[in-house]
């Protein structure tokens, strides 16, 4: 008897499962969007009624994941042509590599109204492959210094518009009071090619270091790298928060919002979070400055965009493009401005946004634009390099290399090894990987 009941229950369950997954309305195209769980993307999810009202024949399904999980999922899916997603949220690093493999639909036909020429040139260049746009920027960012004007005033310090690393080091050490849980500077330390390596690479660039010479020999044994990494390590030891070796963007944002950091050098998009009085305890006293340099002609700022792309082989290509055209349009910016204010508009994607007087009034608008414009992925550092990318190297091997090296620097920050040891191990790892990939 029991067995029969169980059997029946199991069958019922199986039927249910089959039923729900097979269910689909024949008139409605479903677009499945894989996206990252950051503030701007979640805001977009909340505003999709505007899109579905205009396109009643398109239904949107969201797969919102944490950044690391998202990357792994979409890469796995696109590399095997799994076809799970119709729109993928990807970055400036993935776009040219995937486009070269023929994995992405070109986005050169998003319509007259879309005005692709309005996209900031740096963003457009970074998201194109051989002159064709393959991913539309949802928001773009560079990096800059965010600092606490109240603390600076109290200490009698003044932040120049273009600080040097030496000045930053001095400020940070002055502002640090570990007893009172006040740390001079918060910087990324969490291992990962998109976490600490993004930041450390920009520091290295500003010190004149480079990842590879023209023949793809790893350059981590150069004196410039040692100087840059030692500077970073000492600065964090003297003026950084505890646990810095596991702090990424999110952790530092939380610390800065709680008022525990005097300065924070990170993505320009953070500006709208730290000045938002709802989340930030220091919203009224945040100032901005360009990322520091060492006088060698390169600032330590990066260039990045979270962009929307359509994998080739999607069964809803047209609907997916409709969605992208909506999400990255001028109208969408207006829509956010109307509902949430100009400060919350996704920044860094369109020229017209920065020409809009209403947006120019936002405190961080000018500094963001200037930071983006000084970033040049073709010439990231002082010397010539064979690669494209400022805080990354746009080759498929970079994810592996960046993360492995990132762990060495994270270990260094945790005090488990010296900068010399970290660089020596990273150098070995990188050469190993490059040899295997057939570069040398």
């Amino acid at each position: 008897m029991r067995l029969k009941t169980t059997l029946r229950a199991a069958t019922a369950m199986a039927v249910c499962a089959a039923g729900t997954s097979a269910f689909a309305d024949s008139h409605v195209t479903t677009v499945t969007i894989a996206t990252v769980n950051n503030g701007d993307m979640i805001r977009m999810q909340g505003l999709t009624d505007d899109f579905t009202a205009k396109h009643p024949d398109i239904a949107l399904e969201w797969v919102t994941l944490e950044e690391n999980v998202l990357r792994q999922r979409v890469t796995q899916d696109i590399a095997t042509s799994g076809g799970q997603f119709d729109v993928m949220t990807i970055g400036m690093y993935e776009t040219p590599i995937w486009a070269e493999q023929g994995w992405l639909e070109p986005l050169d036909d998003l319509g007259e109204e879309y005005d692709a020429d309005d996209i900031l040139p740096a963003m457009r260049a970074g998201l194109s492959h051989e002159g064709t746009l393959y991913a539309a920027p949802f928001y773009g960012e560079s990096s800059m210094v965010m600092y606490r004007t109240d603390l600076f005033e109290e200490a009698g310090l003044e932040m120049p518009k273009q600080p040097t690393w030496e000045q930053i080091g001095e400020f940070a050490r002055t502002l640090t009071d570990k007893e009172a849980e006040q740390y001079g500077i918060c910087l990324r330390g969490k291992a990962g090619w998109g976490e600490n390596m993004a930041f450390i690479t920009t520091v290295a660039n500003s010190f004149g270091a480079r990842w590879f010479d023209e023949d793809w020999n790893a350059q981590l044994d150069s004196p410039e790298w040692l100087e840059a990494v030692t500077f970073y390590n000492d600065l964090m030891a003297d003026a950084g928060p505890p646990g810095a070796a596991t702090n990424g963007f999110n952790e530092n944002l939380a610390l800065f919002q709680q008022g525990k950091c005097g300065m924070w050098i990170d993505a320009t998009v953070a500006a709208s979070f730290v000045t938002n009085p709802e989340d930030s305890e220091v919203a009224d006293s945040v100032g901005f400055a360009l990322a520091p340099n060492t006088g060698k002609g390169k600032n330590a700022n990066w260039l990045w965009a979270w962009a929307l792309a359509v994998p080739s082989g999607s069964d809803a290509t047209d609907a997916a493009k409709e969605f992208i055209a909506w999400a990255t349009s001028k109208d969408y910016l207006e829509l956010v401005a109307e509902k949430e204010g100009w400060a919350n508009v996704p920044p860094g994607s369109r020229t017209s946004l920065y020409e809009n007087p209403a947006y120019q009034a936002v405190p961080f608008a000018e500094m963001t634009l200037e930071s983006i414009q000084t970033a040049d992925p073709e010439n990231p550092t002082v010397d010539e390099v064979p690669y494209v990318g400022i805080q990354y190297v746009a080759i498929p091997e970079w994810q592996g290399i960046g993360t492995a090296a990132g762990q060495e620097f994270s270990n260094m920050l945790a005090g488990q090894q010296t900068p010399e040891q970290a660089l020596a191990r990273a150098q070995e790892l990188v050469n190993e990987e490059m040899e295997a990939a057939g570069y040398r």
Binding site: Q72, A79, K190, P242, G243, P396, E397, T403, N411, L429
Partner: protein, 288 residues
């Protein structure tokens, strides 16, 4: 007494389970073996079906391999020691007559119901965080500088997190075993004036040996493949990269499927060596 007919019926009854598991083992294994001899890097569009043992050589000779093996053994060993020792103590405690036994038992087994991802997130952000974590508040309360768990003692921290999850399992099995202990024997020993420690050593522990081996066997199988706890907390930095995590990095982060598959095969071989070793012991114990 097994007749020929019932013997063949028995074979028939085992067939679905055996066939399915055989398929589940062989199909992915054969495919992984195939990939492990190939240069398969999807991001480069590279697929070269036969490159010999190059992947194996590179995986084993890479500087991270032996570290990963050591880390894996340390972690599994550490967790086993903690869960078994504390499991015995807890089981003995729960066997005592206590007020509200049922509620206490619920409290103790609750961690087993928490999914690994959640428990790792909770421990990382709310317990061990050096600024906002509860443990650092406790440290500060006693006037000590907060300990940065995941950076200064990363392996220990992960061992603690995983032990917290598996302690209930060990406790439950050991508790059932203790409860089956012959009370009269213990009482006789008590009458004879044997001190508690002696009673534990000569009566309780031998009785538990079978349960302990089973706890060790089952936990080892699960622990060799812990992943979420590392992924959420340290992402393999600070020397917490286990063999499983190394394979993950090769396959998914570097997208080098060939190399990762070779690593997977090596991991299977090593796991089976451990398993054979364990099963010898358990197999003996199963008959005893």
């Amino acid at each position: 007494m097994a007749t020929k007919a019932s013997a063949s019926a028995a074979r028939l009854m085992m067939a679905p389970a055996v066939t399915l598991l055989l398929g589940w083992m062989l199909v992915p294994l054969v495919m992984t073996l195939y990939f492990s001899f190939a240069d398969y890097r999807p991001l480069r569009g590279a697929f070269e079906p036969w490159i010999g043992f190059e992947n194996y050589e590179r995986f084993v000779t890479s500087s991270s391999f032996w570290d990963a093996v050591t880390t894996t053994l340390t972690m599994v060993g550490g967790i086993l020691v903690i869960t078994v020792c504390f499991g015995i103590l807890l089981a003995l405690l729960l066997d005592k007559p206590i007020y509200g036994q049922g509620v206490v038992r619920i409290l103790v087994i609750a961690p087993f119901f928490v999914m690994p991802t959640v428990s790792a997130l909770v421990w990382k952000n709310m317990m061990m965080d050096p600024v906002n974590g509860i443990l650092s508040h406790v440290w500060r309360f006693f006037g000590a500088a907060p300990h940065d768990w995941l950076v200064q003692t990363p392996t220990l921290s992960i061992i603690l997190i995983v032990s917290w999850q598996w302690l209930p399992f060990a406790t439950l099995i050991l508790l059932t075993a203790i409860q089956s202990l012959d009370g009269e024997q213990l009482e006789a020993a008590e009458m004879d004036g044997a001190p508690p420690l002696k009673r534990f050593w000569f009566i309780i522990l031998p009785h538990l040996s079978r349960a302990i081996t089973i706890v060790i066997l089952i936990q080892t199988i699960f622990l060799l493949s812990i992943f979420a706890e590392i992924f959420v907390t340290t992402q393999g930095s600070f020397g917490t990269r286990t063999l499983t995590y190394l394979v993950y990095q090769r396959v998914l982060e570097s997208q080098n499927v060939g190399l990762g598959s070779a690593g997977g095969i090596i991991a299977v071989i090593l796991a089976n060596i451990v398993a054979i070793f364990l099963m010898r012991i358990v197999g003996k114990n199963l008959d005893a």
